[in-house]
Each structure stands twice: as C-alpha cells, then as structure tokens.
C-alpha cells in the first residue's frame, strides 16, 4: 500500500495512476475548503475589525500632481487646488465612513454635489472620482486612467479646480483608506449644472495629511496568500503528475496535464499582479 502522501500527490497504481488530489471529488473538496477559509477571513474581519486592517500613506498633493501630469500629457491645462473642493472631498469621505457606504450617492440619497455646495464652492460643472484600498498615489491615478469613465472625468477640459481628500476609517468592519477627488468649475452663468456624464469621485485632503502607518495584516494580503496556497498546491501536484506520466509512459484517461499547468501558472501570475485598490 502506497504512503498516503504518495497517493495524494503522485500517480501510482493504487490511485489509478493519477494523484488523488487531482481527482474530481478532491477538486470539489478543495473548492469547499477554499470557500470556508475565505468565509473565516471575512468573519474575522467583521467580528474583530482591528485584527486585520489596511491603511496606506497617500499624499493628496501627490494625487493632484499626478492628475495634472496626466492632463499635461493630454495637452490640457493643470487644475488648481481649491480649498473648498478639498473641504467637500473631506466631508464626502467622512460621510462614507459615518454612514458605512462606498458609493457616489449615499444611502440617504445625498449626492456628491451637495458636499460641494455646502463647502461654499459655486460650481457650474462638477465631478467626483473615488478610490479605496490603494497603498500609493501612483496606483490610484493609474487605476483611474485605466477606467474609461474615470479617465474622462480626469481629463475633462471643463474643469479648472480640484480638491482631494484621503481619509482612514472602517468600512464594513475593515480598516481602509478612501481617496476622494472632486473636480469643479466655478459658476459663470446662473444655471448650476452638475455634469451628467461624470460618475467618478476622489478626495484630497487640504490640510497636512495624517501620516498613516501600516497597522495590520491586510485582508487582501491574507486572501491573496490563501488563494496562492491552493494554486501552488495544484501546480505542485500537476508538475509531479506530468513528470511521472512522462517518466513511466503512463497511459490513462485524463485531461492534458500540460494544459492544466499552463492555466494554473497563469493564475499564479494573475493572483500576484492583482492590485488591492478599487475605484468607483
């Protein structure tokens, strides 16, 4: 009788020449185990927000600088930092944490434009970009530029002013960093119009940013490790399977191990390159 480890990871007459971990029932079990593990991570985050946290250090001025660099590249004029828009962005970020939401419009129906108006900025055109869970300003701006709607906002020729706020807090039990970017053009006509095609927002903090220190293990990092562990386990089993099949000329009814290896090797790269932030 083969050792259980051999049975699990290497093709052998006792496992019908296929590592047991690659059997269909084992894959179903692995999917179940993965989902259970993810649920455990989510529950830990929900029950003890302090245990897993995420915080970053994003300088709002750098966000503005990078935004202006992108506009410059597109041949557009740079935006001026506006204290009222900064204030509006800060108010929006604070409202999202206070009311525990991540959206352009609050659950009570408050639109971004009301924060701008409350700050005293009389806008003719206004826009908002949002981002969360990024660790540096470069990635935030890159993500906005990669999204057509956010890019449109960022490179809108109608805007003259910008305000950005960066704020740390807890959303749905997870410590996070929100970036709010607000664009605007002061009112030159009587009508005050909020651009209908603007769907993104972003805050920049006008005052000295709170230096935020990495305070804990990011749930995203833990999830990444959890996913990678499964992929690597499968890759290990597939590699052994491939070597044994070639070495011993094993003939059996099975999928193409080389194809599986290609697919899971791709998944390893994908799991590594996925960045943590999201934009809205």
């Amino acid at each position: 009788m083969a050792h259980p480890f051999v049975n699990l990871f290497a093709p052998h007459p006792h496992n019908n020449h296929k590592a047991k971990i690659l059997w269909p029932q084992s894959i179903v079990i692995l999917i179940g185990l993965f989902i259970m593990g993810r649920s455990f991570i989510d529950m830990t985050v929900g029950l003890q927000p302090g245990v897993l946290g995420y915080a970053s250090q994003i300088d709002p001025d750098k966000v503005i600088e990078l935004t202006n660099q992108e506009r410059e590249k597109a041949g557009l004029p740079g935006l001026q930092t506006n204290s009222e828009l900064n204030q509006a962005a800060l108010a929006k970020a604070a409202d999202m944490f206070e009311n525990n939401y991540w959206a352009h419009i609050s659950p009570t129906g408050t639109e971004p434009w009301s924060f701008i108006t409350q700050s005293g900025y009389q806008y003719q055109h206004a826009g908002e970009n949002l981002a969360r869970d990024f660790s540096n300003p470069q990635d935030v701006v890159k993500a906005w530029m990669a999204s057509p709607t956010h890019k449109k906002n960022l490179l809108d020729n109608r805007y003259r002013d910008i305000g950005v706020a960066v704020m740390d807090g807890t959303l749905n039990g997870v410590e996070t960093t929100l970036v709010v970017q607000m664009f605007g053009t002061t009112q030159t006509t009587v009508a005050r119009i909020a651009s209908s095609n603007i769907t993104n927002t972003a805050y920049a903090q006008e005052e000295a940013p709170n230096p935020v220190v990495e305070v804990g293990l990011s749930p995203m990092d833990l999830s990444r490790v959890w996913s990678l562990a499964f992929v690597i386990l499968i890759l290990l089993a597939l590699s052994l399977d491939w070597i044994f099949v070639l070495r011993y000329n094993i003939v059996r009814i099975s999928g193409d191990t080389w194809a599986h290896l290609t697919y899971f090797a791709g998944l390893v790269i994908i799991l590594i390159i996925i960045r943590q932030g999201i934009v809205l």
Binding site: P24, W144, D256, A259, F264, I273
Partner: protein, 85 residues
C-alpha cells in the same frame, strides 16, 4: 521517456495566448474589479472550451475529461474571484 507533448503545437500556442491575454487584461484593468472578474470568468470558460475541442480533435473526449476541465476551470475562477471579492 515519452516526448514532450508538442504534437498539437497550435493548441498549446493558442492556450498560452489565451492565458497571456488574460494576464494583460488583468494588468490593464487593475483597480476595476468588475472587468477583472469578467476577464477571469472568460478565461475559465475559454479554457474549458479549449479542453473539449483539444480532446475532441484527438478523439479522446470523454465525460470525465470534460468534468475535469469544468472543475479545474471552476476552481481557478473561485480562487481569483475569492481574492477580488
């Protein structure tokens, strides 16, 4: 020792191309989880289709082989979407 599985080189190049394209799309859409989810679902579906066509071309297609591709595709999908959620 058997030769490396290069018999259907076109099939393997195609699969490598699909996986590479998915990696590039994931990289391009970094920060936009919806698009990244679509990309990984698309890759997994294409991988399953690739497996079925590849084995059909070799006259080795059986129900358990289809099941194997479906389960591997599903596992891959779950592992990446689990990270994105």
């Amino acid at each position: 020792m058997k030769k490396l599985p290069l018999k259907n080189i076109f099939d393997y190049i195609l699969l490598t191309g699909l996986v590479s394209a998915a990696i590039l799309l994931i990289l391009f859409y970094n920060g936009n989880k919806n698009y990244q989810e679509f990309t990984i679902i698309g890759l997994s579906l294409l991988y399953i289709v690739w497996g079925i066509i590849h084995h059909a071309r070799e006259n080795r297609l059986q129900a358990r082989i289809i099941l194997e591709y479906v389960l591997f595709g599903l596992l891959g999908c779950v592992l990446v979407i689990g990270l994105l959620k």
